[in-house]
Symmetry: C2
């Protein structure tokens, strides 16, 4: 009953198996830089109405695949669906980003939180996964995702986005045991949520730890990585007869790649501040690497984009284990035609790095 | 005529000479967390009026020294005085931070910029330095400072603060030669500005590269470090018969400490995400290190603050070359009494690390 995957480059690269060319997808590839996205978004009303409507979520998920020759789809959703399902009342304030009506402000608030049932409170996400997986018809794999417990906790305690994270990072020092209680329940919620996505059809998983890089080394280990480790340990790692690779991405986490790779994840996301050659030298024998073109390159002229794509590919070097991506989400003001330049450059330039010939000079002269 | 310095711990530590205890000061130590600062600030009107009034700038500079046993004063001013003096029209929008009336938006704008005369357009800063130096009466050294060219350029191109730095980092890829022109003139302006501060009485210098950490490795070298190098090369390094140490601080620059240390600066500022023991192992034989308590520790209880201060001191370890500080500026909501706990803990705990006895076990049992 399962449709055969026509393009499994992403899964092979994440498992560090040989590939013919480097797979490429883009963080936030379904998003505001696409006029067709903005049109659907406007019709849907607010952002969460779009997430909650499986048909529309599927439509925007597939939009970038129509324009660009991408090697993966990623579920259109938000990392804050879990705290919303826990009763925090997520809403989006224009120009201010995500907000919670009921932020977590005491240990009593934390004790009241329960793990949401992914097929009940979060059933709309699973419906979206099932719809997208069906509509993809095996064209490319579908990536499911969640926020890391620490990253979710920052929004839950701050009540929304933050610049300094003073409240949540202060709480960490003031009431570490309350913070651990919050992170434990989030780790369980994320594990169940991601496993439900796998059962619904997700073929690879990614955990976004957007704010782990704001922590000290010890706090990163104790309050962020520790809970990502619990999640990795509890995930379904094989489904429909195939491995479900999991990628961890801590923005500004370049200092901790070794510890991240030691969790047993399959791949690490690398932001653009971390040179991918150095990252590969440090952990590339253990995990695949995803990244890491500076998102601002996409504001430049085609020849600059091509040169920067070539640089990332060459910095990673030959051999398997590389998934091309930006170092963070695509900016809303990027012209879509520049995205095409990037995707096409990855396709044009990367086969030479995967040439099977042991005689490299010959492989080079051939193409 | 020069008054003898009564406490030169900071200068000795920056030169990696022996000290009796670890000197301590706090980034933004004259600031909104102090009620007496808020009072002067309110009377002065806007922030820049306070900076432009040498008497008031001196008064707020000295306020934290009355409350806490600090080992340095730092000029009360702003990094954006230079672009303001270049005609960009700095103002502070409530709740939004610094803004420019005339941001740099084209290469023609850049060509019109001129290096401001530090004793004319920026004479108010030099007057503040002279007034503070006089009023300090040799109690502790006075630190002068400036923003790095890259950091100043981010505000000048974005027109104020930014989250993604899309415009300035986009410009870097679109028009690198225009960016270099802007950075060259800023490097000359910063050099002249800091040298004028030294002539006016500053006894140590610090360059704040708040946004260098948003760059790729290559761009950091070419667009930020390269211009800090030019500044270091052009600075007065001895004055009044004493070395003028210079500290470079790139927030989120933990990956580039070796390159920063190779500029010939005397010390590096380390933010809290970078473990100071690792930083010392990497560059401690070349430069002193300043930092790096997580500013959020100051929200916690006294025993937690003391334990975290002890940890930073122990992580640096025994021997010279450490200036205790936060890993970034103090937060406005921190209770001043917690600052006292931190400063006193540095004084109480650090002498053991500087015990002159070669027999360390004996030194330990003695105190």
């Amino acid at each position: 009953m399962t449709v055969e995957l026509k393009n499994d480059l992403l899964l092979r690269a994440l498992e560090r198996q040989p590939v013919e060319r480097t797979p490429v997808w883009i963080m936030r590839q379904a998003g505001r830089y696409l006029p067709e996205y903005r049109e659907v978004r406007e019709r849907a009303g607010d952002f969460m109405s779009l997430c909650r409507n499986a048909e529309l979520a599927c439509r925007v998920t597939l939009q970038p695949l129509r324009r660009f020759d991408l090697d993966a789809a990623i579920l259109f959703s938000d990392i804050l669906t879990i705290p919303d399902a826990m009763g925090l009342g997520l809403y989006f304030s224009p120009g201010e980003g995500p907000k919670f009506q009921n932020p977590v402000s005491s240990e009593a608030d934390i004790r009241r939180l329960a793990v949401p049932d992914p097929e009940e409170e979060l059933g709309y996400v699973m419906n979206a996964v099932r719809t997208i997986r069906h509509e993809l018809r095996g064209a490319v794999p579908l990536i499911g995702f969640a926020g890391s417990p620490w990253t979710l906790a920052t929004y839950m305690v701050e009540g929304g986005s933050s610049k300094e994270f003073a409240r949540v990072r202060g709480l960490l020092y003031q009431e570490p045991s309350a913070m651990h209680k919050l992170l434990e329940i989030l780790a369980r919620a994320v594990t169940e949520y991601l496993n439900a996505q796998v059962r619904a059809g997700a073929q690879a998983l990614m955990i976004f730890d957007t704010w782990g890089g704001t922590l000290t080394r010890e706090n990163y280990r104790d309050f962020s990585l520790n809970y990502m480790q619990q999640i990795v340990d509890g995930l379904i790692r094989e489904h429909e007869g195939r491995r479900i690779p999991v990628t961890l991405f801590t923005k500004n986490g370049g200092a901790w790649l070794e510890e991240m790779a030691a969790t047993g994840c399959d791949a690490l996301g690398i932001d653009w501040t971390q040179p991918i050659d150095i990252a590969r030298a440090r952990v590339g024998s253990k995990v695949a690497l995803q990244g890491n073109l500076d998102p601002c390159v996409l504001y430049a002229q085609p020849d600059v984009i091509e040169a920067q794509v070539a640089k990332v590919l060459q910095d990673f070097g030959s051999g398997s284990g590389h998934v091309f991506n930006l170092g963070h989400g695509i900016h809303p003001a990027v012209p879509p035609e520049n995205v095409k330049v990037m995707v096409d450059a990855v396709h044009a330039l990367s086969p030479a790095l995967h040439a099977p010939s042991p005689d490299k000079s010959q492989a080079k002269s051939e193409g």
